[in-house]
Every structure is written in structure tokens, then in C-alpha cells.
């Protein structure tokens, strides 16, 4: 394949970093990037070469609302509030522990939640881990998908491993998904992604557009 040539890879990476790689060539290059790890290294090398050009830039602190938006979208904002709740929960737990050990155990288990939103930022699914094997999915609104397409939930781990957890139902109400059984990969450590795929069964890896990517929020 043409793109295997190191000289060509390097030239494209240089123009990608410089910004002159345009249009379809750029799109093609970005698709290749997912398949050829060597390209990513070349990009980093070129960025490092050019970076001294940014040295004369005076750093500018962005306005506070930028971080507030980021924090809200990643769940980072609520950390303090949840911590306070956590303390209350701990006190309650200690009290209940005197009553029943079982309840104590349940309250100690943090809830893992993910809210999947559509492009208008409206919640579509709320996912809750029942345990490390099962996932409860509450469908809040329909994605209005064409009949042949389905929304597939994926778990992605930091080491690059990825597995499908099945199709997210469009029917309102609560549904149960069984998480993939992997000894080495804890579902609660995964990033969750949702893609649109040709139905009815999920493909071995995502082929369609990724609609959403997010992490578990621990409550």
C-alpha cells in the first residue's frame, strides 16, 4: 500500500501539523491515523519540531465559564457536592450497619451511571451498572432511527480493548443488558461509546458514526 512508504507518511504528517493538508486528503489521512500507529508518532514528532514557534505566545487564562462547561460535561463539577453527599451517606451507613449488615453492604456500593445524550444534549438513555455483569438501561426518548439501523453500546478500555454490550433499545422503559464477560476488563473502568450500526445485530467493532462517548459517573 502506498501509505506504507515512510517518506510519504512523514510528508503527510508534516503538512497535517502545518495545516496545509486539506479537504479529502486530510480526511483520508485522519482515517488512516486510526489504523497506522506510526502516523501518530510522526505527527507528534512534527508538532514537537514546530512547537518552539508557539513560545513567543503569551499564555492567556481562559474565562471561568469555559472550565465550568467542561466540568459540567465531564461530571467534574459535581465532585465536591458528591463528596459531601458521600459523607452523609457514610454516616447513614454506619447507623444502618447496626441494624443490618446486608443493607450496609448495599449502601457501600457506589452507583455507576452514564447519561447518553443526543445532539441537542437531551438525555436519551440512562445507564446504571447493577453489578459488574449487568447494566440497566432506561430509555427516555426515541432516537427516531430508520428501521434498519440500531444504536450499539460499546465498552472501551484504556489498553485499546473494545467490546459490544449490545443494542440500546428504542422502546421507552427499562431494559437489562448483560455486560461482556471479561476477567481482565472491568466494565466500570471502561469508557462507553454509542454508535449507529446496520441492524439487527451489533458488528464485531464499530463501523458507523460514534454518537456519544463518555465515562461512568460514580454516585
Amino acid at each position: 500500500m502506498r501509505y506504507q512508504q515512510p517518506e510519504l507518511q512523514d510528508r503527510l504528517a508534516a503538512e497535517y501539523v502545518l495545516g496545509t493538508l486539506q479537504g479529502r486528503a486530510r480526511q483520508r489521512f485522519e482515517r488512516l491515523l486510526a489504523e497506522l500507529p506510526a502516523l501518530a508518532e510522526r505527527i507528534q514528532a512534527w508538532q514537537a519540531r514546530f512547537e518552539p514557534l508557539d513560545e513567543d505566545l503569551r499564555p492567556v487564562t481562559p474565562p471561568a465559564h469555559v472550565w465550568e462547561n467542561i466540568a459540567a460535561r465531564t461530571g467534574a463539577a459535581s465532585v465536591r457536592r458528591w463528596r459531601r453527599l458521600g459523607l452523609l451517606a457514610t454516616a447513614a451507613t454506619l447507623l444502618l450497619a447496626l441494624v443490618t449488615g446486608l443493607l450496609y453492604r448495599q449502601l457501600q456500593q457506589p452507583d455507576h451511571l452514564v447519561m447518553v445524550t443526543n445532539e441537542q444534549a437531551q438525555p436519551v438513555w440512562v445507564l446504571r451498572a447493577v453489578d459488574h455483569r449487568r447494566l440497566k438501561v432506561r430509555t427516555l426518548r426515541s432516537m427516531n432511527m430508520p428501521a434498519s439501523k440500531v444504536c450499539v453500546l460499546w465498552l472501551e478500555w484504556p489498553d485499546g480493548h473494545r467490546q459490544s454490550a449490545g443494542v440500546l433499545s428504542d422502546d421507552p422503559g427499562e431494559h437489562l443488558l448483560t455486560l461482556p464477560d471479561t476477567a481482565r476488563h472491568d466494565p466500570l473502568r471502561a469508557t462507553l461509546a454509542v454508535s449507529i450500526e446496520q441492524g439487527p445485530r451489533p458488528p464485531p467493532r464499530p463501523r458507523g458514526e460514534i454518537l456519544f462517548r463518555g465515562r461512568w459517573i460514580e454516585l
Binding site: D10, Q47, E51, L57, V60, P62, A76, W157, P158, R215
Partner: protein
């Protein structure tokens, strides 16, 4: 904090972010956003759009922190690639000139290794002055080949050749 020390700190933070550590994410943002925001402002020339760009960049960092491979690139370099990618994308979609930027607050962040800066300057000087201008315009303002040709009053083919040859020269010079 020296560049090397900063990088080690940022690497630790990024690793924690990959594990979902929100406090580490906030700290990473505090340390790196002033520099990235300045880069976004220069490319996009508009505060609102630079802020959107910064927001998208950090959402991506939060999701993809695990993809960073320590040792292969400095964290700032890795972050810069993500930011530039987003900024250039936004530029493609809607290109218009904004107003001059008047930074309200400044935060010091260590400069890059002066040796790198000197080396790049030395190598840029081996290019002709107009070839050098061409490279700097592309890097700082995200100009496309046709835009560079218009700005420098040169045929498109010449601009493409200049850039290709200049990049090759820089690569050899910086080895």
C-alpha cells in the same frame, strides 16, 4: 518548574485523568489551558470560537487521555496536536477575521527548551525569507495552500512546492 519537571507532572496528571480522576483533570486544565487558549486565539482570532475550541479539546482529552503513550511525546505536544486539529477544523468551516485580542489575565507557564527554539530558528534561517514566511503563515494562521498563494501573490504550484521542500529541509536540519 523546568520543562522537564513540568512534563513529568503533566504525565502523572494525564495518567490519573485516564483513570477518571477529576481533580487531576482540573489541575491539568489549570496548568495547560492558558497556553492552549493562546494558540487557539492566534489561529481562530475570535474569543468565543477559541473558547469553544478549548472546550472541545478538553472534552477530547478527558475521553482519550488513555491513548497518550508516555515517553513518545511531551504532554504539551500531545495536547497541542488535539487543539490544533480542532482549531484547523473550525477554521475550515467558517473563516472570518476577528478583532485583536486583549488578554485580561496572564499566567506564566515554562517556556520551551531554549535549545529547541534556537535550533528551529537556525533551521528556519536556512530557508529563503519568503519560504520561511510561507511556513510561519501556515502554522500560525492555518492558511490553506490557495490562501497562502493569494497572500504571497504566488502561483499555487509554487506554494505547494515551497512547502514540501521547506518541510524536507527542516526535517533534515533538525535531525
Amino acid at each position: 518548574m523546568s520543562g522537564e519537571h513540568l512534563n513529568r507532572t503533566l504525565q502523572k496528571l494525564l495518567l490519573a485523568v485516564a483513570n477518571g480522576d477529576r481533580a487531576a483533570f482540573a489541575r491539568l486544565y489549570r496548568l495547560t489551558s492558558p497556553k492552549l487558549y493562546a494558540v487557539a486565539l492566534r489561529i481562530l482570532k475570535d474569543e468565543g470560537r477559541a473558547q469553544d475550541c478549548l472546550q472541545d479539546t478538553y472534552l477530547k482529552i478527558w475521553q482519550q487521555a488513555a491513548a497518550y503513550e508516555g515517553g513518545k511525546a511531551a504532554v504539551m505536544t500531545w495536547l497541542s496536536v488535539i487543539l490544533r486539529h480542532r482549531a484547523l477544523d473550525m477554521l475550515r468551516r467558517r473563516r472570518e477575521d476577528g478583532e485583536a485580542i486583549d488578554p485580561e489575565t496572564l499566567e506564566a507557564i515554562p517556556a520551551f527548551d531554549p535549545v529547541d527554539r534556537l535550533a528551529l530558528e537556525k533551521c528556519l534561517k536556512t530557508l529563503g525569507s519568503r519560504q520561511r514566511e510561507c511556513i510561519e503563515l501556515a502554522y500560525h494562521q492555518g492558511l490553506t495552500h490557495p490562501e497562502l498563494a493569494a497572500r504571497l501573490a504566488l502561483p499555487l504550484g509554487t506554494v505547494k512546492t515551497w512547502i514540501r521542500r521547506s518541510l524536507e529541509k527542516l526535517r533534515q536540519c533538525l535531525q
